[in-house]
C-alpha cells in the first residue's frame, strides 16, 4: 500500500511536472508569437505566470506536505492504515481536480492555438480585427469565466487543503490515541503477565493446600482410628477390670455354686420322688375310675343282655305262634319282602285283569252300538222290503189290469175284425192294431222293467236278509260271548274282581297316604329350606375367609389363651405362696416381691383396699403426731413459764433442767431417774457451785422442788441485783 501510495504520489508529481513543462512550452510558444499580439500575450503570459507561480507554490507546498506526510506515514504506519480510505478519497478527489485541471489546461491550450490562429487571421485580416477584437472580448469574457472557474478551483483546492489539514490533525489525534492505547495495551499486557504469575503462584498454593488437606484428612482418619482404639482400649480396660473383679469373686461363687448344686440335686431328687408319687396316685385313681366305669358297664351289659334274651324269646314265641320260619328279624324282613313281592305280583295281575275287563266292556259297548245300528239297518231294510213288496203287488195288479185291458182290447179288436172282415176298415184297423200293438209292447217293456226292478228288489231284500242273518248270528255270538263272559266273570272273575277291587281300594288308600307323606315331606323340605338347608349337589355355600365372626372368634381365643396363661401364672403364684407360708415370712415376702416383679401383676382389690387403709392410718398417725407435738410444745412452754425451768430429755431417763434466769446457757441441772422412780441430781459444772443448797434441800430436806425453787430464787435475785 505504501508503495502504491508512493506511486500515486509520484504519478501526481510526474503529472504535475509534465503540466509545468507543458505550461512552459506554451510560454515559449507565446514567445514565438510575441510579435503578433504583444499586449494580449503579455497579459496572457502574466496570467499564466501567475497561475504557474501559484501552482509551483502549491506544488512545493504539496511536496513539503507530502514529505511531511511521508514522514508521518513512516512514523505512524498504523494510524495511516485506519485513515487510508479517507486519504485515498482525498487523493481521488485530487486526481479529479488534477484531471479537471488538465482538461482546463487542454482547453487553454486549444484557446492558445485559436489565439494563434486568430493572430494569424489578424495578421492576415487586419480589417477584420475589430470583429476579431469583439471575438477577443468574448473570448476574454470566456477567459474571465475561466479565471473565475480557476479561482473557484483554487478555492476548492484551499478548502481541500484545509480538509487535509484537518484530517492530518485528526490523524494526529488518532495517532496519539493509538499510542495511548498502545501504552494502555502494554500496561494491560504487563498486568496480564502479573496476573498470570499470580495465578501460577496461587495454583501452586492450591495444589500444596490440597496436598496438605489430603494429608490432613488422612491424619484425621488416623486420629479417629486412634481414638476409637483408645476407646476400645478403655473399654477393654474396664472389661478387664470387671473380669478381674469377677475373677476375684469366682472362688466364692464356685463355692456357692457347689453348695447350690448340692441343694439343687437334693431338691430335684425330692421333686422327682414327689412327681413319681403323684403320678402313681394319679394312675391309681384313673385305674379306680376305669374299674368303676367297667363295673357300671358290666351292669349295663347284663341288663342289656337280659333285655336281649327277652327279645329273643319274644322272637321265638312269635315263631311258635305264627308257625312261620321266623327266627330273626332278617327272616321277618325277608317274609315281608316276599309278601310285598306277592302283593306287587297280585297288583300287576289285578291291573291286567282290570284292563282286560275294561277292554271287554269297551268291546261290549261297541258291539251294542253296532247291534243297535244293525237293528236299525234291518228295520230300514224291512221297511224297504215292505215298500218293495207293496210296489210288486201294485205292479202285479197293474199287470193284471193291463192284461185284462189287453184282453179287452183284443176282444174289441177281434169284434172289430169280425165286424169288419172285409177290407173296408182295414187301414183304420191296421192303424189301431199297430197302435195297440205298440201300446202292448210298451206295456210289456214296462212290465219287463218292473219285473227287473222287482227282481232287483228281491235280490236286495235277499242280501239284506243275509246281512240280517249274519248280524243276528253275530249278535247271537256276542250274546253267547257275553253270556259266557258273564258266566266266567260271575264264576271265576267275580272273586278276583272283588279282590282286585279291594286291592285297588287299598292301593288308593296307600296312594293317599303317600301323597300326604309327600306333602309332609315337602313341607319339611320347605321348612329345611327356610332353615337354610340346601342341595349340596347344586349349591355351594361360600363366605369370606376374614369375616367378622372368625375375627371375633380369634380375638376371643386369644383372650382366652391370655387369661389361661394368667390363670396358670396366678395358680403357680398361689401354690408358691402356700408352700412359702410354711418356710417363713421373709422368704415369702421376697418370693412375693420377686414374683410380683416378675409377673408385674396388677394389684388386686384387696391389696388396694389395704393400701388405702394403710394410708388412712398413716394420715391419722401423722395428725396425731402433729397434735401431740403441739400439745407437748404447749405443755413445755407452760411448764417453762410456770416453773421457770426448761426440761429436756438428753438420754434415756436423764433430764436436763435449764432455768429461765440462768446466767449462761451451760448452767444446767441434770437429773437421773432411778430404777425405783426416785430422781437423783447428777453432777455438772453448775451444780458444783450450789453445794450449800444441795446440802440443805437435798441432803437435809430431801425435796427437789424446794431445791429448784431455791436455785430459781437465787438466780433471780442475782439477776435483779445486777
Amino acid at each position: 500500500m505504501d508503495l502504491e501510495d508512493d506511486t500515486t504520489v509520484l504519478t501526481t508529481l510526474k503529472s504535475f511536472n509534465s503540466f509545468i513543462s507543458h505550461s512552459e512550452h506554451p510560454q515559449s510558444m507565446s514567445d514565438h508569437s510575441a510579435g503578433n499580439g504583444n499586449l494580449q500575450s503579455q497579459y496572457k503570459r502574466s496570467m499564466e505566470f501567475l497561475g504557474a507561480a501559484e501552482r509551483v507554490q502549491s506544488k512545493t507546498r504539496y511536496l513539503q506536505l507530502d514529505q511531511e506526510k511521508r514522514q508521518m506515514e513512516l512514523s505512524h504506519k498504523r494510524a495511516r492504515f485506519e485513515l487510508e480510505r479517507a486519504a485515498s478519497d482525498s487523493a481521488r478527489n485530487l486526481e479529479h481536480e488534477v484531471d479537471r485541471n488538465q482538461d482546463l489546461l487542454g482547453q487553454i491550450k486549444k484557446l492558445g492555438e485559436r489565439e494563434a490562429e486568430a493572430a494569424k487571421n489578424l495578421s492576415v485580416q487586419v480589417d477584420a480585427n475589430h470583429a476579431l477584437r469583439k471575438n477577443l472580448e468574448g473570448l476574454n469574457k470566456k477567459l474571465e469565466e475561466r479565471d473565475f472557474k480557476l479561482n473557484s478551483a483554487n478555492q476548492t483546492i484551499t478548502s481541500l487543503r484545509d480538509e487535509i489539514r484537518e484530517q492530518k490533525q485528526k490523524i494526529q489525534s488518532k495517532d496519539s490515541a493509538i499510542s495511548a492505547q498502545i501504552l494502555e495495551n502494554q500496561e494491560l499486557q504487563e498486568q496480564l503477565d502479573l496476573q498470570h504469575r499470580k495465578y501460577q503462584e496461587i495454583s501452586q498454593l492450591c495444589q500444596s493446600l490440597q496436598a496438605t488437606e489430603s494429608s490432613c484428612s488422612e491424619h484425621i482418619i488416623k486420629i479417629k482410628e486412634l481414638e476409637r482404639r483408645l476407646v476400645f482400649q478403655e473399654q477393654d480396660i474396664a472389661i478387664v477390670k470387671t473380669i478381674k473383679l469377677e475373677a476375684a469373686k469366682v472362688p466364692d461363687l464356685e463355692k456357692e455354686l457347689k453348695h447350690l448344686r448340692d441343694d439343687n440335686a437334693f431338691l430335684r431328687e425330692s421333686r422327682e420322688n414327689c412327681s413319681l408319687l403323684k403320678e402313681e396316685v394319679e394312675g391309681l385313681r384313673r385305674k379306680l375310675e376305669r374299674m368303676e366305669k367297667t363295673r357300671e358297664e358290666l351292669v349295663n351289659m347284663e341288663l342289656e343282655k337280659e333285655r336281649l334274651v327277652e327279645k329273643l324269646q319274644a322272637w321265638e314265641n312269635l315263631q311258635q305262634s305264627t308257625g312261620l320260619n321266623i327266627r330273626k328279624p332278617d327272616d321277618l324282613s325277608r317274609e315281608v319282602i316276599q309278601i310285598q313281592q306277592r302283593e306287587i305280583a297280585l297288583k300287576e295281575q289285578n291291573y291286567t285283569l282290570n284292563s282286560r275287563v275294561r277292554s271287554v266292556e269297551c268291546s261290549q259297548a261297541e258291539l251294542r252300538t253296532e247291534l243297535s245300528q244293525q237293528r236299525s239297518k234291518t228295520l230300514e231294510e224291512q221297511k224297504k222290503r215292505e215298500t218293495q213288496d207293496a210296489l210288486v203287488r201294485r205292479l202285479q195288479k197293474r199287470i193284471l189290469l193291463l192284461t185284462k185291458e189287453r184282453d179287452g182290447m183284443r176282444a174289441i179288436l177281434e169284434s172289430y175284425d169280425s165286424e169288419l172282415a172285409p177290407t173296408e176298415y182295414s187301414p183304420q184297423l191296421s192303424k189301431r192294431l199297430k197302435e195297440a200293438e205298440e201300446m202292448l209292447q210298451k206295456t210289456q217293456n214296462h212290465n219287463a222293467e218292473m219285473e227287473v226292478q222287482l227282481s232287483k228288489a228281491q235280490e236286495e231284500t235277499g242280501t239284506l236278509k243275509l246281512q240280517l242273518q249274519a248280524v243276528e248270528l253275530e249278535l247271537e255270538s256276542v250274546k253267547k260271548q257275553q253270556a259266557s263272559a258273564g258266566d266266567r266273570s260271575s264264576l271265576l272273575t267275580k272273586e278276583e274282581v272283588s279282590i282286585l277291587r279291594q286291592k285297588i281300594e287299598d292301593l288308593e288308600a296307600e296312594r293317599q297316604r303317600m301323597e300326604e307323606q309327600n306333602n309332609i315331606l315337602e313341607m319339611r323340605l320347605e321348612r329345611h329350606n327356610l332353615q337354610g338347608d340346601y342341595d349340596p349337589v347344586k349349591t355351594r355355600v361360600l363366605h369370606l375367609k376374614m369375616n367378622p365372626t372368625t375375627v371375633a372368634k380369634q380375638q376371643r381365643q386369644q383372650e382366652v389363651e391370655a387369661l389361661q396363661e394368667e390363670v396358670t401364672l396366678l395358680r403357680d403364684l398361689v401354690r408358691s405362696l402356700r408352700d412359702g407360708g410354711a418356710m417363713g415370712h421373709s422368704q415369702d415376702e421376697s418370693s412375693l416381691h420377686s414374683s410380683s416383679l416378675g409377673l408385674s401383676l396388677p394389684p388386686s382389690k384387696e391389696v388396694l383396699e389395704l393400701r388405702k387403709q394403710m394410708e388412712r392410718s398413716e394420715l391419722r398417725n401423722q395428725r396425731l403426731k402433729e397434735v401431740f407435738q403441739k400439745k407437748i410444745q404447749e405443755f413445755r412452754t407452760v411448764c417453762y413459764v410456770l416453773t421457770g425451768y426448761q426440761i429436756d430429755i438428753t438420754t434415756e431417763s436423764q433430764y436436763r433442767l435449764t432455768s429461765v434466769y440462768a446466767e449462761h446457757m451451760d448452767d444446767t441441772l441434770l437429773f437421773k431417774k432411778g430404777s425405783n422412780g426416785s430422781m437423783q441430781l447428777m453432777e455438772t459444772e453448775f451444780s458444783k457451785t450450789l453445794g450449800e443448797m444441795v446440802a440443805l434441800h437435798l441432803h437435809h430436806q430431801k425435796s427437789i422442788p424446794a431445791f429448784l425453787s431455791a436455785v430459781t430464787l437465787d438466780l433471780f435475785s442475782r439477776q435483779t441485783t445486777i
Binding site: 340346601y534 349349591t539 355351594r540 355355600v541 361360600l542 376371643r556
Partner: protein
C-alpha cells in the same frame, strides 16, 4: 343407575339388589345390636332414615362382600344370601336372616329392559327394610356378645374366588321361622325371612 325411569336392565337390577343388601345388612346389624349404636350414622335413602356403619373394618368387609355379590347377581349364579348371627361364648347360631334370590336367567341373554319403574321397586324395598326394623319386637333379645357372618349360596359350578372359602350352612338346631316381605325387580326376586332359636330351647 343405568336404567331409565321406565325400564330396568340386568345391570340396574343388580345395582338395586346389591344396594338393598348393603342397607339391609347395616339395618340388621344396628337393630340386633351386633355393633354398638355409636358405630352407626344416619343416612337418608329410599325416602327413609337408614343407618350405615362408620367402622372402617366393617365397611371394608361389607363392600368386599357386596361387590362380589354384585358380580354373582349379574351372572345370576347366586341363590341365597344369609346373615348368620353367632353367639361367641357357645359358638351357637342364634339367628339367620335369609334372603332367597330368584334370578331370571333369561335376562342374561336378552338385554331388553323390563317394564318396572325404579320407584315401585324402591317402595317394595322400603317395606322390606321397615319389616326388618319391625322384627325386633318379636325376636328374642341377644344377651351374649355376638358376631355375624355372611354366607352366599351359589351355583355349584361357580369358581370360588380368592379370599372366599366354602362354609357350612350354619343351621339353627331348633328354630322358628318368620317369612318377611319380598320384592322383585322383575329380574331378581328377593324373598326375605328370619329364623331364630326358639326361646324355650335355650
Amino acid at each position: 343407575m343405568t336404567s331409565t325411569l321406565k325400564g330396568i336392565t340386568l345391570k340396574g337390577s343388580t345395582e338395586l339388589v346389591a344396594e338393598f343388601f348393603s342397607f339391609g345388612i347395616n339395618s340388621i346389624l344396628y337393630q340386633r345390636g351386633i355393633y354398638p349404636p355409636e358405630m352407626f350414622t344416619r343416612v337418608t335413602h329410599y325416602d327413609m332414615s337408614l343407618l350405615l356403619t362408620t367402622d372402617s373394618k366393617l365397611k371394608n368387609y361389607l363392600t368386599n362382600v357386596v361387590s362380589q355379590l354384585k358380580e354373582w347377581l349379574f351372572e345370576c349364579t347366586v341363590q341365597k344370601l344369609v346373615l348368620v348371627i353367632t353367639c361367641l361364648e357357645t359358638n351357637e347360631v342364634l339367628e339367620r336372616w335369609q334372603f332367597d334370590i330368584e334370578c331370571d336367567k333369561s335376562a342374561k341373554e336378552s338385554s331388553a329392559p323390563r317394564e318396572k319403574s325404579i320407584k315401585t321397586i324402591q317402595d317394595e324395598i322400603r317395606s322390606v327394610i321397615r319389616q326388618i326394623t319391625a322384627t325386633v319386637t318379636f325376636l328374642p333379645l341377644l344377651e351374649t356378645p355376638c358376631a355375624f357372618d355372611l354366607l352366599v349360596y351359589t351355583d355349584k359350578d361357580l369358581v370360588v374366588p380368592e379370599k372366599w372359602e366354602e362354609s357350612g350352612p350354619q343351621i339353627i338346631s331348633q328354630s322358628e321361622e318368620v317369612r318377611l316381605r319380598s320384592f322383585t325387580t322383575s329380574i331378581h326376586k328377593v324373598n326375605s325371612m328370619v329364623a331364630y332359636k326358639r326361646a324355650d330351647s335355650v
